[in-house]
Assembly symmetry: none
Homo-oligomer: 205 residues x 4
């Protein structure tokens, strides 16, 4: 078999097993059994169990980040709010489209070890930075309420994570992706309280 094909195959099998059993419970034996290759073959393509996990998640993080764009303010671009909704939709799409990888991201990769925590940290920081940027921009345009954008971006990220996580466990518990995105957006961004009930009335018109 060709080098890249075999590599890809083993990687795919590893995703499956890691997602099913978790990082620690997964043994190299499990992976090679799933892939139907010999022990040595595994090490022909990956330096270690840790290494294949790294790689697999790095790819995924990359893929997710690539979906996040800065809000485009240029003439004729989509309305900023629609852009943000699109963002959330796209990310939800990626996460729910690769359930196994998402499970790994949200469950198995958490608390793996110090190095990995750092890596995830950086990922979420970057995500947060991008989100903050968009929010800040929205504020200058008068579309987003005055608030601590750092906290706000954490809320958006946390909400998406929690919703996705829930859907990984009970796939049919919530509405379909596109509706869901809409819903999440309305809740997080639009607020739960009816305007008149708000603590600090958010800028009455």
């Amino acid at each position: 078999m060709e080098r890249t094909a075999r590599r890809e195959q083993v990687l795919k099998c590893a995703v499956r097993v890691f997602s099913r059993k978790g990082y620690h419970a997964t043994t190299v034996s499990d992976i090679i059994a799933e892939a139907g290759v010999a022990r040595g073959t595994f090490y022909l393509y990956f330096k270690s169990k840790r290494n294949i996990f790294d790689e697999l998640l790095d790819d995924y993080l990359q893929r997710i980040l690539s979906q996040v764009r800065r809000v485009d303010m240029s003439e004729g671009a989509e309305p900023p709010l629609d852009q943000m909704r699109g963002e959330v939709e796209r990310i939800l799409g990626v996460l729910l489209g690769s359930r196994e990888l998402s499970r790994i991201l949200l469950h198995e990769a958490v608390g793996l070890d110090a190095d990995f925590d750092r890596k995830l940290d950086e990922f979420y920081s970057r995500l947060a930075a991008l989100t903050e940027g968009s929010l800040r921009l929205g504020q200058t345009m008068g579309l987003v309420t005055e608030c601590d954008v750092r906290v706000a971006s954490l809320c958006i990220i946390g909400s998406v994570k929690e919703v996705v996580d829930h859907l990984l466990i009970e796939p049919d518990a919530l509405p379909e992706t596109s509706i869901l995105a809409e819903e999440v957006l309305n809740i997080i961004l639009g607020g739960l309280f009816v305007p008149s009930a708000r603590t600090r009335p958010a800028q009455a018109p």
Copy 2:
């Protein structure tokens, strides 16, 4: 030393070590070294490494749940909105008051194994159920916008988790707890968009 005191001491040390190194990286040797007891002593009080972790987290989950109350609608009770704000404040307080345990809850306990995932699942489900109840109530009272309360409760929980997690890593990154609770509430519950900018205008006044 007295049975309960010793037990408590070992438990406390275990929290420290688990928080610092994570569940898998922590060995029983680490724990007994921290506690300054012999190996045998550990097993005198706890059935296994897994068992002490269980116990320690169960206690914590219990403590957190005890902070969550159903919204009280009886005559003369606090205004519902204030109650919810109090809820979030109390939970944030507990989580940020026990940083080590929170670290364990949010990092080390995640993806530990199937059994544990189930346990956490149940915990978050219960939390969500309570939250949903309050939200639903708010809706009947016209205080909460029409929305999928299941999604909304996930957003609230996810936001709190994410904010706390961030504060565990960088303790001084965000405003002080009480202000933070206010902020989180305004963002999640009050919404980010200024009312006039909302996708589906939530109840035009």
Copy 3:
């Protein structure tokens, strides 16, 4: 069993096995089988297979070096020549008294790896330095011929090694230790050629 006793026992067994099978052919399984202990017990006392080998040989090198004394020139001391003979005898005695360790020193430890080579190197250098010192002293006293003492000390060391090595293979091939020491001394130090036949007649009588 007491810590030191058990440690000593395992060490002794390791010597036996290493001597019999060589470093690389010896597995930890071999050692624990010989010692009749469990796998974990081995690692309770020694960090690794390499580590037990190190320790075992370090001890031996130490023991050998402790036998080498500088020639004592003070009033009333033994005649220098007798001292040197005593030296050779003592060393031969140690080496032939611990055949297994000597086998390890001369066979298994050679070419083990770069680190070990360095260690042996340093050992032989120290041995050579001590020998050179004695020879140089002998020269100033007119007892030792003019020659390159560095070469001479290498010859002495090499001769002892070769003789011992031979005796490890065929224990009864050569005369008994004390006679052997005498013989080696006469040959190395006294020379093989009858004086009149020497290349550069060393001090015609």
Copy 4:
């Protein structure tokens, strides 16, 4: 590439690597990387890693042995003493001329395994037998002192090994080859002690 040429090339590369890293630390991968051939190619020319090492050392042992001649007593031959000096010089020459192979012989081949030890043993035995023969002859001619020739030959061999070994580590530590041979001969054969100081006066003429 032609069969013999390719074979020779791989062999040469193997010498280099074995000398640098030692037998055990050298992997077949190292050798083929050095030679720039594919894995399969290696096994086209050599049965195994062990086999190429065998071959390489066998060749060398052969080459060394071929330098050792019985002392020629026939009418008109060189004086026996000069012949012996020539012997030592030639052997030193060969050993110092092929430093990598000598390193392998003196370091990596020692204690490799039982089979190999036997092979080396036989080599040194043959060398010793030849040397003993010459010494015995020297004795009958009155040129060599009365002594145990078995011990004497071991001393000669051991001295040469040690001196060469030292020179492999520090190439410039000792005098140049030809002078060195002279020196070694004078020391081993001629003796270190001035005649009057000898234990058992070596047969005063």
